[in-house]
């Protein structure tokens, strides 16, 4: 109550003020009225400035709209600028499985040791990113002159499906990160762009609300729960690798994570149905890369026995047939790494622990990357 000294000085009618024992002088009331009017006017003006300032910043700054991408791009840029002549440049686009499982620095070092020349390898793994996100990110990189020589492309069958006629990938993304020019691309692949356009109006209606998590994720990440920080890509090493920190999992923790993964993916893998939109997105990405004369490899990342059990025999066959046809039709080599690692190498059956990640990376380097850069 005492936070509002003026509440008792509401300059209403003279009688009203007199009733509550307040000064009834007309001059005082007029002064208070003027001050209140000026205060509200100043408040509105400052708010408009703050509001428009953030909204307009957000309209051009990728740091605000898509900090996860911006972080990755900055790291990639830094890596390139460190040794601009280090060619070829190898980029691995994928999901969190790649983010956790591909130790790009180990690959880079190993390749340098074998070939005796500098190369650049970068891990562009982002949680939930399927062929549409990958395509858009690849387009952005190309547009920003960040050339790539070899592109490794992760295939995660669960992300090639649909949920209620919506690409699964669309469930992991939001309306905000995309540029206006990218919306038609998303629309082409069945993303709910119509409803997103409505959401995107919040840019201008309530920017402080729309960008609050992104801003707080930068200013005070510890104030937000992990999944709301938008700083996922800030943690990785300069080569983009985000190793899982808790290497020494107890059996109980591992079982819990495996159960969580089962809950998330079992149905999608057991009754796997290819989404035509996702397939088209993938084909378009492949042809785009080929047009730019980038060597592309499709990688089916490792999966432990506990995760492989989620595939029914039928869906497994269907996925394999589709992938082989795709590889054949596009001329892109397919590498099936599913059985390369053991269950102990994973935290939940499909995300590699750091030791496993390094081992897989080295094997991938020898069997794929080396071929990719020497062929």
């Amino acid at each position: 109550m005492r936070l509002l000294p003026t509440i008792t000085r509401v300059a209403g009618r003279k009688g009203e003020r007199h009733r509550v024992g307040l000064p009834t002088s007309g001059a005082y009331a007029v002064r208070q009225q003027c001050k209140a009017r000026r205060t509200l006017l100043a408040g509105t003006l400052v708010y408009m400035v703050l509001h428009l300032g953030l909204a307009s910043t957000a309209s051009w700054s990728r740091w605000l709209r898509d900090p996860v991408y911006a972080d990755k791009e900055r790291k990639w840029q830094k890596l390139i600028s460190r040794l601009p002549e280090a060619r070829p440049r190898i980029l691995f686009l994928g999901t969190s499985r790649v983010a956790n499982g591909f130790a790009a620095e180990a690959a880079e070092r190993h390749l340098r040791e074998i070939t005796g020349r500098p190369v650049t390898v970068f891990n562009w793994g982002l949680p939930g990113s399927g062929p549409v996100t990958q395509q858009i990110h690849f387009r952005r990189l190309t547009k920003n002159q960040l050339e790539v020589d070899v592109l490794l492309l992760e295939i995660f069958p669960a992300l090639m499906t649909e949920v209620s006629r919506l690409p699964v990938e669309a469930c992991f993304t939001e309306a905000v990160p995309w540029d206006d020019s990218e919306l038609p691309i998303l629309e082409r692949y069945g993303f709910p762009v119509v409803s997103w356009r409505h959401e995107r109006r919040n840019f201008w209606v309530a920017p402080w609300w729309t960008f609050r998590l992104r801003l707080m994720g930068r200013l005070a990440p510890s104030w937000l729960p992990y999944h709301q920080r938008y700083d996922w890509s800030r943690g990785p090493d300069p080569w983009g690798w985000s190793p899982i920190l808790d290497e020494d999992l107890t059996a109980e923790q591992r079982a819990l994570r495996i159960e969580r993964a089962r809950h998330e993916y079992e149905d999608r893998l057991r009754y796997w149905q290819l989404s035509p939109h996702m397939e088209q997105a993938l084909r378009d990405l492949l042809s785009l890369a080929q047009q730019l004369e980038v060597k592309v490899w499709i990688i089916w990342t490792p999966e432990g026995p506990s995760f492989q059990r989620h595939y029914s025999a039928q869906s497994q066959k269907r996925i394999e047939r589709w992938l082989h046809n795709l590889a054949k039709e596009t001329g892109v080599p397919l590498v099936d790494c599913r059985d390369w690692m053991t269950e102990e190498d994973f935290s939940d059956g499909h995300h590699l622990l750091p030791t496993g990640a390094v081992r897989w990376t080295l094997r991938l380097t020898e069997e794929v990357l080396l071929r990719a850069i020497t062929e």
Binding site: G12, R38, T39, G43, W209, R212, S222
Partner: protein
Amino acid sequence: MDVNLVFSHLSEVTQSVWLVFRATLERYFSTISGILPEPFFHTQAFLTFFVLVFLVYWSIPRRWIEIRIWVLLVASFHFYAAWSRELALLVTTTTCADYAFGRLMNLTHRRVWRRLWLLLSISMNLGILCYFKYRGFFLNELYDILTRLGYDPGYGKLDVLSIIIPFGISFYTFEAISYAVDVYTRKIEAEKSLPKFLLFILFFPHLVSGPIVRAGDFLGQARRPKRWNWVRIQVGVQLFLMGAFKKLAIADRMALFCDPVFQNPENFRTTACWLAVLAYSIRIYCDFSGYSDMAVGLGHLFGYKLTMNFNMPYLSTNISEFWRRWHISLSSWLRDYLFIPLGGSHGSRWQTYRNLMIVMTLGGLWHGAAWGYILWGIIHGLLLVIHRWFRELTEGHLLWQKLLRSPAGTLLRISLTFTTVSLCWVLFQPELSRAWTMYQQLFTMHTGAPLPLHNRSLWYTVLFVLACHVIVVSGIWSRIYERLPAAVLGGGYAICACLAMLLAPGQGSTFIYFQF
């Protein structure tokens, strides 16, 4: 012409018109519901709704009081009907009935008749409250007792969660009862204007979560023409922003710490549970007082002054003072319409204690139909009794008085009151078993998970709340406030609005007191 044929045609036409009317009404309300799905203040939809009503309200000439009343009435009805039109109709109907009972009471001087109308009004209001809020609880308790005794209850257990309780039913029921009692005791005259009376109950700022308004305070204001007043608008804006900040930036943030712990206390270590209790204390205070501030602020923006509901309750030096500072509109209602009619503190010591226990137990039950709330009320009753007994004990002892009133003693009393109140909040939930587990975790050393979030933001928030209290209590704020230039104050409002949004965590939660 055949009369039957005419009637049959007429009946068909009437039926068709009725069907079209119903369909239109349904479409209309479903559209409204789509725009404003819930009666909450901190949503964009509400702000749009508010701005619209505000503009229409103030564009009407001052002398057209009735039109302005109707605008607010229609807006308030829509505000509630957007969530549930059936329940909005129910509230409106019972309010009309209360109006009629009030008028009937005024028409007669015979005590018997007046008492009858009073009883009818109270029975109707309490009957509806019991039907919606307490039916499930009492029938299920009866079912358990009968089953335990080996009798067949003859009905199945009710799913309490499936019973829809009208938002704010406890609040407007108490408002209606206080009106009937005040008219009966001739404290006020029965309101002659139905729209004004409807507005007294339905006025959207206080409809769903109070403050519990008294007819004497509100109806007088409704009768006066409202003049645009910049100071009043500023006060309204300031209160609304303050409330929004408390809700979004503090209460919702504290929910990140306390909700997971209160839901599964067995998974957390003892220190995490203590911090969760601290977080919950701040949360419930900022959540409810934030709502109340917004409600009072909105009231000011339409020229109405509603009762302030909180006065820094966590700075209370004893439990009795706490209840004079916490949810003031409820505690004063309980005092005026329950405690005093029961005899108040005028009887013997034991009668006073009994009255306190009755009032607080019913106060607990008012919050929710669950043993947790009842026990919470009982414990608060006991605390009030203990405090009264202690006060009587120490009243004549100068040394005690000196010790208690010294700075250290005051600090100790504040800390003790705060800790006691905070520990009582553990009971303030429907699941008694969870509260019990929480107490076990609190008072015996347990290992387990830490708080779900880094506790840095918890401590910053606690310090911020504490600093605000200190600044206000020491008088620094009132001194600064008067001298602050308009531009600085206005800038402060703008920054406060932006900060409220910026600091709001991902998932906003509804107001805790909406469920009551």
